[in-house]
């Protein structure tokens, strides 16, 4: 048995985790290789600007994946996340040199004691602006 959080101890609105994650160009290259998504807008400034972007942007799927890592650590078991969805509302430009700082705040959105699940709502922002919309992870707890 894991010693993860218990459903009975949670209340809607409660913040359960928070983390700031830095993303630089090297991280995007790493994600491209790991995921197989080699779209050049995520690593090539020339291509990114030629299609009207401000510059290289992070893969939306990188941001989605980085945000849920916070939930996995809180839940104590990667297998506990039974559903995870998001909308991509704003691109995350990644400077060079430097890094973009992605802030992730996880809070209890809803509790379902019958199913034994909690919906964790993620607020994911860069410089105060939300980059993911309706980012929700459903987590099964003991």
């Amino acid at each position: 048995m894991s010693t993860g959080p218990a459903l009975a101890d949670l209340a809607v609105g409660q913040e359960v985790a928070r983390r700031t994650v830095a993303v630089d160009r090297a991280r995007l290259v790493r994600y491209a290789g790991a995921s197989g998504d080699f779209n050049p807008i995520h690593w090539n400034e020339r291509v990114a600007t030629s299609v009207g972007l401000p510059g290289v942007i992070a893969h939306g799927m990188w941001t989605m994946g980085a945000a849920v890592a916070v939930v996995v650590d809180w839940a104590g078991d990667p297998g506990a996340v039974v559903d995870y969805q998001t909308r991509f509302t704003r691109p995350v430009p990644v400077p060079d040199p430097g890094a973009a700082e992605v802030e992730v705040v996880a809070a209890v959105g809803a509790l379902d004691p019958e199913a034994g699940t909690v919906r964790v709502d993620l607020t994911v922002t860069v410089e105060g602006a939300r980059v993911l919309g309706k980012a929700q992870a459903v987590v099964r707890l003991a």
Binding site: G36, G60, G65, V68, P78, D83, Y84
Partner: protein, 150 residues
């Protein structure tokens, strides 16, 4: 070339089996900042009741995007990636994905709709094991901007 709406409803049968490996899970977890030991340490995963290391919740995108390529990379579909924005994504896990899993994936083109010049393309990948037992469902929507905006 415009996005072809007649692709809606198409189903692409499974191709090659995707074998989930410990190293691919490690690579993906490291790239996304997934530091939970159950992603990389088989003993830690077994202590949680899993048969081997557990994939991060979005790992299935590796399999889904390969599968979606059958459709989105087909020139006849009319999807120009320089005009594509990822609109939304959803993973439903019917059970955790582990190293050693042998996954077969069926691709469904659920919808291709035109909305004020934008083409919205929704695909659904159904991941299953070789006996057909469901593993995960991955739904993805792309928005394709019209050519004149490019």
């Amino acid at each position: 070339m415009a996005v072809d709406t007649t692709f809606a409803g198409r189903v692409y049968p499974p191709g090659d089996v995707y074998v989930v490996s410990r190293e691919k899970i490690r690579e993906f977890a490291e790239a996304t900042g997934g530091t939970h030991p159950a992603h990389t340490d088989a003993a830690a995963a077994r202590a949680l009741g899993h048969p081997d290391v557990v994939a991060p919740p979005t790992f299935a995108v590796v399999i889904a995007q390969r599968t979606e390529a059958q459709y989105v990379d087909d020139p006849a579909a009319g999807i120009d990636f320089s005009r594509v924005v990822h609109a939304d994504e959803r993973f439903t896990h019917h059970r955790p994905l582990h190293a050693g899993d042998r996954v077969v994936t069926t691709l469904h083109v659920d919808a291709v709709t035109l909305r004020g010049g934008l083409a919205m393309v929704t695909t659904r990948c159904e991941l299953a094991d070789e006996s057909g037992a469901p593993v995960a469902t991955v739904v993805s929507t792309l928005a394709v901007r019209p050519e004149e905006d490019a």
